[in-house]
């Protein structure tokens, strides 16, 4: 489900100090990913100028961390967020995930902690949803949209966790997927899980419930992260920037 390229970029074998040529060579093994990476690297969200012509140039321009994000975004969209006949729902799920990724990084920054891994925790928190949807439709291809949505909630965290473990994703991501609805249940990587939980709430606020700011502010995770009302004000004010990042990540 996850292309080889993305799996290799994510499992830590290729890290910050990898040779640029080696990464470029790896990416060129998957033409679909290469094309999307170049398009996104040239997009406004990544400060692109439209002049990036090669993966090597993209790497130098946007860096491995962001390249890793883009590759994963493309790979997950192509490999997981694709359920025939339900494109609108899946596209909505994807946009929610991309906003959550952008917000997770911003929350980490506001907490003055390293923002590097938070993006992926947010981006992948709901990775189980399209999988559950695909499985449900295999059982009954005629499920209504309402029923589809209803089956996602109870199972997506469990299925997502299993998927993340299969992909050998880092522990912080696995825990964020498993516990973003009940961060109190996380035994490890608690700050990452809390950030993913709040990023999920922000993504809902931006995309689905623009008037439900009160509910977000009242959520216990804000207290758990020690985010004061003025800190939340600053994060809410960034909603347009986060939407722009999410749009840029959409294939």
């Amino acid at each position: 489900m996850l292309p080889n390229v993305a799996a290799q970029l994510l499992d830590g074998k290729i890290a910050e100090n990898a040779d640029l040529a080696e990464i470029s060579e790896l990416l060129h093994t998957d033409q679909a990913i290469t094309g999307h990476v170049l398009r996104i690297a040239n997009s406004a969200a990544y400060g692109g100028s439209g002049r990036i012509q090669s993966i090597q140039q993209a790497l130098l321009r946007i860096g491995l961390t962001q390249l890793r994000e883009i590759v994963l975004a493309v790979a997950v969209q192509n490999g997981v967020f694709r359920v025939e006949g339900h494109e609108a729902l899946v596209s909505h799920l994807w946009k929610h995930s991309a906003i959550a990724g952008a917000y997770a990084r911003e929350i980490a920054r506001s907490l003055r902690t390293n923002a590097e891994s938070s993006f992926l925790c947010g981006l992948l928190h709901d990775v189980g949803k399209p999988v559950v949807l695909g499985l449900a439709l295999e059982i009954d291809p005629n499920l209504s949209g309402e029923t589809c949505t209803a089956v996602l909630e109870p199972y997506h965290a469990l299925v997502g966790r299993s998927l993340a473990e299969t992909w050998s994703l880092p522990g912080a991501i696995v825990e964020s997927i498993a516990h973003h609805h009940d961060p109190g249940a996380a035994d490890e990587h608690v700050p990452s899980v809390n950030i993913a939980c709040l990023a999920n709430l922000f993504a809902h606020l931006v995309l689905d419930q623009p008037d439900d700011e009160k509910a977000l502010r009242a959520h216990p995770v804000c207290v758990a992260l020690n985010l004061y009302p003025e800190d939340l004000d600053a994060l809410i004010a960034k909603r347009d920037d986060m939407l722009e990042v999410a749009d840029g990540l959409t294939v």
Partner: protein, 480 residues
Amino acid sequence: MSDTRTYDLIVIGSGPAGQKAAVQGAKCGQRVAVIEQSASVGGACVHHGTIPSKTLRETAAALSSFRQRTGNQLSFDIPANVKVASLMARLGQVVQAHEGYIGAQLSRNGVEKIHGRARFVSPNEIEVATVAGTRERVRGTYIVVAVGSQPRTPPNVPVDHENILDSDSILSLIYLPRSLTVLGAGVIASEYASVFAALGVEVTMIDKNPVPLGFLDPELTSRFQTQFETMGGRFLGNATVKQVVTDGVVVHTELEDGTVVTSDKALCALGRIALLDRLNIAAAGLAPTSRGLLQVDEHCRTDVPHIYAVGDVVGPPALAASAMEQGRRAACHALQLDPGAPAETIPMGIYTIPEMSSVGLSEAQAVERHGAAWIGRASFAEIARGHIMNDPHGFLKMVAHPDGETLLGIQIIGEGATEMIHLGQMALLAGSRVETFVENIFNFPTLAEAYRVAALDIAGQVTQRSRPVTTVTDATPAPA
């Protein structure tokens, strides 16, 4: 808004300074509250600074000692891409233990903890905004401001906590970078620069001053710089940073002279700023100094007599040990208790690799104050324990009064310096003579022998020479 609670003493901030002020007040039977904006007590010292950085340093120092003791005969290189978290696996336990100890101490002494952000509404009244958005007012007869500080970010250094980090975010790095540019050459910059160099990272330290840690004795800083460079570090002094930019892959640090230093990551350690912005000190009748600090007298009292300020918020030395003493003294003064004579012998510990420590007067201070000084030196190369540890670069400097008898200060660089210094501190406090170290025997082989060697050096000079030094010794490069 609930009813206003009243206290004899309100302390804002629960770092080392605030904690000691609160406990001192409570031990005197006063009703004391501590207002802390973080969910847990301890301040930056426990959560971002002293305790976490020393946990990573412990690993780096152990590696450095291992290489030193085995004469580099056994190779132990850090694997590429090692996760920083794996180098301080015990961090969670260490922080939790310290936080638990501080919390228990406050509770045991009956100090009330209020979780929220404080803001003065009048000289005696403080509004506390909780994380949940509620507000309450508390009133204190005396108030101690111990809000601490956070890293300063100059406009030409765009800290993003991903590629360009500060001392709050550096320890949450995921992977050990290949190279690191450290901006600054103060205590925090020098500590991290040497720790990452000991871990095998290619470190470049950049500062406008000619040497790192310029406030220390030049003989110590010279030896530190030599050892830092031996570990592969590079120091660029007299350098002004024009701008720092990152393209996501690397960080480019451009200097005014056109030099560009490129590294995987950068650490901005260009000082700290007092956390006064949310405190509304104007409502208390206070104003910050031009450096954004609070001005205090020798009792840590501000211009408003019932308000005290302690710790980083009053500026240098901004060390945990001095902050604790300031907190205690402030509470004692407020409660009209005798805090004892001001401690002139608070040691200074710099947790670089190798570590450095100082207590009492330096050579320069002694010459300035007394017109002259006797200087005794002991290289660890002359000490059996130093040979066993293979630390020939370690060094102890003893400063004595022109009378040749009165001990004035000690400076040490080398493994264990921050512990060894306490022997000198006790000698200073007890008014011991230089000869005390000659006439008494320490365990053998230990590094404490360096005290005896330095004392013998002074005794020999006093016997053979007619005059002590009247000009400060130039820093001599450490032996290669």
